[in-house]
């Protein structure tokens, strides 16, 4: 069952205040660093000029950074790379900001710049623009990282669409914490795309 026709090309975790690409630390900061500052530092360290980054919410920023880093190792991504993402909180950070604006402030206002981020799949739109991915996007909501569902689903999606690549994983962001594991799947390589392997990678940094 766990024999997989696909392989992990690269993977990235963002947890606590560290970013790790294929097991190598890209950035590590003090645990007390605010999440927003940490993501901004990571963007600076990427050394790219992409002003749209600063408009994004933290969910999009974290996904953007991880996707950017993986592209440096196993990119550029094929334009038909499927995006199969999941988390627990959907777009809670932006939802919370929008709801605060319309209920809790003196002058109740709704901002289009906030509202547009109140959908989790906006992040998939952001990386599709950045990497010019014309592909299927799906955003699942689970109460925890569920490789038991995602691995067979991703394999079936590759087979169904007759494509070779996917980017997927778990992207749970709250105001202060980030629990992200993304991986780039392809047909060549040495790390099998299996539930067991992904569970190991996910749990390594706990």
């Amino acid at each position: 069952m766990d024999a997989s026709p696909s392989y992990i090309q690269s993977y990235c975790t963002i947890r606590d205040r560290s970013i790790v690409l294929n097991g190598t630390i890209f950035l590590k900061m003090d645990i007390a660093t605010p999440l927003a500052d940490f993501l901004k530092s990571a963007y600076r360290q990427l050394d790219i000029d992409y002003p749209k980054f600063h408009k994004m919410d933290s969910l999009c920023k974290a996904i953007f950074i991880a996707t950017e880093l993986m592209a440096r190792h196993s990119g550029p991504y094929a334009s038909d790379t499927a995006l199969i993402f999941s988390n627990r909180s959907s777009s809670y950070l932006s939802d919370n900001k929008h709801a605060t604006g319309i209920f809790d402030t003196e002058n109740q206002t709704a901002s289009p710049a906030t509202f547009v981020y109140t959908l989790p799949n906006i992040a998939l739109g952001e990386i599709s623009i950045r990497h010019q991915l014309h592909s299927e996007n799906v955003f699942f909501i689970f109460d925890r990282y569920l490789p038991e569902f995602l691995v067979p689903y991703t394999e079936a999606a590759l087979d169904d669409k007759q494509i070779e690549h996917a980017i997927g994983g778990w992207t749970e962001i709250s105001e202060h914490t980030c629990d992200l594991l993304l991986y780039h799947i392809g047909k060549l390589g040495s790390i099998p795309h299996t539930v067991a392997k992904l569970k190991r990678i996910y749990n390594e940094h706990e």
Binding site: L83, R88, S89, S90, Y92, D95, N96, H98, A99, T100, I102, F103, D104, A110, S111, P112, F115, V116, T118, L119, P120, N121, I122, A123, L124, G125, E126, S128, I129, Q132, L133, H134, S135, E136, N137, V138, F139, F140, I141, F142, D143, F149, P152, Y153, E155, A156, A157, D159, D160
Partner: protein, 375 residues
């Protein structure tokens, strides 16, 4: 060769009433659910929207006080499918939920009487699972306004790739809230009257609410409809505006048509939100596909934009149209209003039909096209 997958049953709860046959008949009679709405808990001023009345759901499930309004509607739709089609509540049955915002009306809302944790979609899924005692955790999809149609595609793929499930219940729903109204208003996307999809004078959308459910399985019945093919592509162009070339929708339709073997379509159930840019984008994509002459409707002037339910709701009504051999007119259309012409259906037409194309597009640049065919 992959197994054929069928929609063999459905349920619709909309402001027009409960039951898909009832809803279909009301559309053919020209009834619309979109009406002026003066409710200061939603907006400071009058909006035009389609809202489900309290008598349709209040007190209709067990332990009613434990469930939110939207959960109650989801539960009613699932219960209806289980009862009507005798679907077992065991490990062979999987529920797929499709919603953009779930219980978001509870968030920061001083009138809410549920804990804010209920805003999490996984909590909502958990409540629905345990109401019925389903063994499998529901799969929840939140992918903007293509969620409902995408959930059908996901159901199809899951049934084709695994023998773990025999019955998949795909249920989509969203409700109108201040959260959503204020957001669309901030985008200046709301129409000042009933919306006019594809019309010259269209000036925005109406919000609506509905729960729509489809029973998807490998085992066809006499009146089953096959989910023949699907294509879904991102525009990779803009997160909140449709592509000017309709690129993602064009690719989605082309892929679905190619996979289905370039069949002749009897009609197209378009997304047709009635915003200036969306409808123009759809006309361009259809023109690029050579499908401008196919009869087409949008159901948004009947129901408003029901967000995570819309793709499912409109598919189910398309299936009724297919079976009955009657084209549903596109309410609100008077004068052509897109740079590429479309064959918008303006009156009910009876004719034998075999298949239709359903499309949807959403924020984040996502698009989907599905082809449904009579058995």
């Amino acid at each position: 060769m992959k197994a054929a997958i069928f929609i063999v049953g459905d349920c619709v709860i909309s402001p027009l009433g409960m039951g898909s046959t009832l809803n279909f008949e009301k559309l053919l009679a020209g009834e619309t659910a979109v009406a002026p709405l003066d409710d200061t808990t939603l907006a400071e001023h009058r909006i035009h929207a389609a809202r489900i009345a309290d008598h349709q759901w209040v007190g209709k499930i067990q332990n009613a006080s434990k469930y939110t309004r939207l959960e109650t509607l989801f539960i009613l739709a699932i219960q209806n499918l289980i009862d009507t089609y005798g679907i077992p509540v065991d490990r062979r049955t999987l529920v797929i939920l499709s919603t953009t915002k779930g219980n978001v009306s509870l968030l920061h809302n001083p009138a809410a009487r549920f804990p804010e944790s209920r805003v999490y979609l996984s909590e909502m899924a958990h409540e629905i699972q345990h109401y019925f005692g389903f063994e499998n955790q529901p799969i929840t999809i939140s992918n903007a306004c293509i969620s409902g149609a995408l959930a059908l595609s996901v159901a199809r793929q899951l049934l084709q790739s695994s023998d773990a499930y025999e019955h998949v219940l795909v249920v989509g729903g969203d409700e109108i809230s201040k959260f959503i109204v204020s957001g669309f208003e901030a985008f200046q996307a709301l129409s000042d009257g009933r919306c006019r999809p594809f019309d010259r004078d269209r000036n925005g959308l109406n919000l609506g609410e509905a729960v729509a459910a489809a029973y998807v399985t490998k085992n066809p019945t006499d009146d089953a409809v096959c989910i023949r093919a699907a294509g879904s592509f991102n525009d990779a162009n803009h997160i909140s505006g449709p592509s000017r070339t309709g690129e993602g929708l064009y690719r989605s339709i082309r892929e679905a048509m190619r996979l289905a073997g370039e069949p002749v379509l009897d009609f197209i159930s378009a997304h047709g939100t009635a915003t200036v840019y969306n409808d123009e984008m759809e006309a361009i994509a259809l023109h690029r596909c050579g499908l401008s002459a196919i009869p087409l409707h949008s159901l948004k002037a009947y129901y408003g934009h029901t967000l995570g339910a819309s793709g499912l709701l409109e598919t189910i009504l398309g299936i009724h149209s297919l079976r009955a051999g009657e084209l549903i007119p596109s309410l609100g259309f008077q004068y052509p209003g897109t740079s590429k012409p479309l064959n918008v259906i303006t009156q009910p037409i009876a004719r034998p039909m075999s298949r239709f194309l359903k499309t949807a597009s959403g924020f984040g640049g996502c698009n989907i096209a599905l082809i449904f065919e009579k058995v």
